[in-house]
Symmetry: C2
Subunit: 374 residues, 2 copies
């Protein structure tokens, strides 16, 4: 699973293409409305966000309030279940292709941590080292090593070891998990995966075999040690919207093999954060002009990122107002963003440094989760 | 793995088709010479059989002497290794689609037992319950149950538990075995498997994903507990020739992932044995005519089976001579065959009845094989 989309290519006048391995935007950038319609998911609207706040008794995460997570499938059903006092579990993942996770990679995990804390539910995190071996020029050993390194970054986000299982495919595939892979595979034709993922006949069969691997963590029976006796537990998947094709396929297959469809909560793409002097600014060309006309917030990258990372709603509003009215300069806003991000990055670095090999082993141990709904 | 071909269809005037799921003969029955040329394997000739006898210090098995196993790939290399005092291992398998194995199903296991005894080498036996789930209308549970039932028939053939590992894919796939599956899958395109196995775009991806599962028991690193430290151990696969496509693919991939190619020793097809009054006879239409003209041995089914199952070469020759010269009648030959087969079947039944669940567990336990070359 790629939790964050690859670099978004901008193509002139072409159709946007969004699948787990390619994201290319049309002329005006990604058209998310079009994507929601094309994929057939639902918009995550204000009443639904209010309902989350009401049910969890805490303010919705800023990634919800500010529209980073913007689409869903059957999230209302998950909330119905929760409202009745029943439970569900969370499933997310990452394709470990780099040594360390940057802030953009951490976004879905920060959000998943909020969901785990707010709903007090168990969580499985799949590290698709097999996927990265299949798609990138890596050895099995290197893919597994990256998976373990990435697990440290994920653990540093603060997940609760009592209700979190992190696994690498190379280490965990087998048993009930493999049985479910084979069950899913029997329900999906080659033509179907070509339609969903755009494979070609020259693609290797490793690629064609992979979709069931990412599908089956959606089913609690894939984790018999963890979810024993909870085979109908519903699953909610927080992920970037480029992963939707996997779960469209999964939702299509689920009822045919007697399982519940997973629900989804989906984010926009979040390109790598590189805040430097080249970041696109909505400020004017000269200080004089800026003082007079103010900034165009719609295109300003610093504002876009502050929107996602500055927790305080009032402070954000003050900054936006001052920048828009020309009272704040681009450099000042940028400096503010650098301060906010640096603080987050430093906090993450410190947390990651505290993650020991023993903690990784504990999260990755195949074991019952005694306190998973506690 | 289907150790014995499915019922051989006879088609008029059509090309013969031989792959793991379909065997259809042309007008004159299976043309094995053509098959050897088409597949690119070698004929198992008399000098090679003599060499096996010389190296093992025992007479070659009647399945070798009488041409049931008739083709090979790199068997000479395996014998070179053995002659130098090095070892190899055996790999065979079965797709568990029926409750009990009939005599035809047991042929490859009888032969494999001879190889194990003669060369004193370890053996892995794959029960492809996943394959049967994917191709037949079975549940996972039923496929696994059949695998375990079939293991009892296999154990009854007399394998040495000290050097034999029997496994079901549903139970064993994972870890190093799964890593090798993914390594193989990355080397084989969809076009390639279509060419080898004849898949169509409407086939489900379970079928397309399966060939690597049958490929990787050819590599000792798939069994780290059993063959630890013997990663370059050569593998010899006794099987029916319809399984050749899997191992052509495997031999093609092996050097690309740093592994040795498996060698093969391949048998003709062996249709289910149903000796009854409808079995095709080479005898004449009346006793009088038979006494005068004698039998046509070439087309006589009883003689064909006696050829494979009557151990005593001299007695077989006596029978064939008497039958050919009209001194023995079809009914008498048939009765002899029934006696020979009944004795084998009874012996097998008694042996199978002695196989306990504990013995099955012992053969299927994932463990080092301390005495595997002893």
């Amino acid at each position: 699973m790629a939790s964050v989309a690859p670099e978004v290519e901008k193509k002139e006048e072409e159709e946007q293409v969004v699948n787990p391995w390619e994201v290319s935007a049309g002329k005006g950038g990604i058209d998310y409305d079009k994507l929601v319609d094309q994929f057939g998911c639902q918009r995550l609207d204000a009443p639904l966000i209010d309902r989350i706040a009401r049910l969890t008794g805490r303010p919705p995460h800023r990634f919800l309030r500010r529209g980073l997570f913007f689409a869903h499938r059957d999230l209302n059903e998950i909330l119905d279940i929760y409202e009745k006092g029943d439970k569900f579990y969370l499933y997310t993942g990452r394709g470990p292709s780099s040594e360390a996770l940057h802030l953009g990679h951490l976004v879905p995990f920060m959000f998943t941590k909020y969901l785990q804390d707010a709903f007090k539910v168990p969580l499985v995190i799949q590290l698709t080292d097999d996927e990265k071996f299949l798609w990138k020029n890596l050895t099995v050993e290197e893919s597994k090593r990256l998976a373990r390194e990435n697990a440290k970054d994920i653990i540093a986000c603060g997940f609760d070891v009592e209700r979190t299982f992190i696994f690498s495919d190379f280490n965990f595939v087998g048993g009930a998990f493999y049985e479910n892979m084979v069950k899913v595979a029997r329900c999906v034709t080659y033509n179907k995966v070509v339609g969903i993922f755009g494979f070609t006949p020259e693609d290797h069969i490793g690629k064609i075999s992979f979709p069931p691997v990412q599908a089956v963590p959606s089913f609690p029976s894939s984790f018999p040690k963890h979810f024993s006796g909870n085979d109908q537990l519903r699953c909610l998947i927080p992920c970037a919207i480029d992963q939707d094709p996997y779960f469209r396929m999964t939702r299509d297959v689920a009822p045919r093999i007697g399982y519940q469809k997973p629900a989804l909560i989906e984010s926009r793409f979040f390109p790598a954060l590189q805040v430097n002097k080249y970041a696109f600014s909505g400020g004017q060309d000269s200080v004089e002009l800026h003082r007079k006309l103010g900034a165009n917030l719609e295109v300003d990258v610093s504002i876009k990122y502050l929107n996602f990372f500055l927790e305080d709603d009032d402070e954000l509003e003050r900054i936006k107002k001052a920048y828009k009215e020309g009272r704040m300069l681009t450099g000042e806003v940028k400096q503010l963003l650098v301060t906010v991000l640096s603080e987050m990055v430093e906090r993450h670095k410190r947390a990651r440094a505290r993650v020991t090999e023993e903690m990784v082993d504990a999260f990755m141990a195949v074991r019952p989760l005694p306190n998973m709904f506690g």
